[in-house]
Amino acid sequence: MLRWIVWRDLMLAWRRRSDMLSTVFFFVIVVSLFPLGIGPETQLLRSIAPGVVWVAALLASMLSLGRLFANDYQDGTLEQLLLTPQPLFLVVLGKVLAHWIVAEIPLVLIAPLVGVQFDLSPQTLRVLFVSLLVGTPILSLIGSVGAALTLGLRGGGVLISILILPLYIPALIFGAGAVEATIIGMSPTPHLYLLGAFAIVSLLFAPWAASAALRISLE
């Protein structure tokens, strides 16, 4: 069943490629604006790089999260998904997995490339890649709760940012922290472990919270 939901969402995303590309473009542009605005001060660029890339990733995922359930809600397929014989958290998990593949994986892949603009060493770029790989599932998982809560509300897009961005703070601190640690010559592993722990905790709780929120939103 999970397979069908993921496959369905991937196919829908493929048919609406422009949505996916706009998220990636947003990320690339936001990250690139900083080196352009600050100028060739390598020392400064290197120290702000982890924060900038991570914040851009958070904002880029805000763009796509609004659509996580909204499209299905509008055409009535979300009701049908609620009435399928599998537990609702599996449906949510499938949609979150598809969202991660469609909206977050491209960011993870392109981050080392845009990171070059900040004069980061290959070692640091590798840690940036790993930290995003471990951290972005958190963005999709926690984001799904916000997307479910704001479903069908006017101005849902802004509301979801206000609700969810504060919850992203631990991911931001440990994700950017791992990269910073590498820059100053320390081991990034403690940060990555904590990030991984946070990802597991959100994997355990977010699908349940999101399915409860969906039931409320659809009443």
Partner: protein
Amino acid sequence: MVARQRPRSTAVEELDIADCRFAIANLQIGNWQSAIGNDYNDRGGKSNILEVSKLGCVRGDRRLFSGLDLSLSPGTFVQLTGPNGSGKTSLLRILCGLLSPAEGEISWRGANIRALGEDYVTELTYLGHRPGVKDELSALENLRISNALNGVEVSHEGAVDALQRMGLAGREHLPARYLSEGQRRRVALARLLLCNTRLWLLDEVMTSLDKGAVGLVRSLIENHVKRDGIAIVATHQELELAAGVTKRLELST
């Protein structure tokens, strides 16, 4: 089927409850039952599998209905009528478990539907007044995916056949956004051909359908009722079936 025609008996019960009033008209169409020589009525041979007791619904600060009792045995068709805003959609959404009732309870085969959870959902098919068809997917993909998610994996040929029977031959591979409103509705209704659920809850499924398609839906419901299914259909159009027990449930404001 045409052997003996009995006059149709009509019993109208009127209930006055609190601020809300229902007229439950009970129409029994006799010719099918007499043809198979089985004089059966509501309380007869078959036991009721769907029991609704003292159901009440409040939306916002308005009470739509209260004290609604309904018991249905296999092979029953319920035509749910009433003016706009009288709570037809809410009642159907309560019956499928999407909405929780303000009071009262619903039991399926003797157990509360809340407790049954997924076991109840596997036995029902709900088609809402939004068709639930994805614009980006073709009619075929829509049908196969919605069936697969409901645990019924349909082969390519099976799905094509169902779409052709719904009058969509030649349009199976067209993305649904190129289909007209009525054709999208037909895509949604094609699910009824492939599902094997006991309880059908259909909400205004006749809107934007042409005459031929309405006839098709009627025969689908007729077959379903003949195979001991239950169909509860909210509609403004009169729907007369030649089989099973027909009940009319009228909600009023």
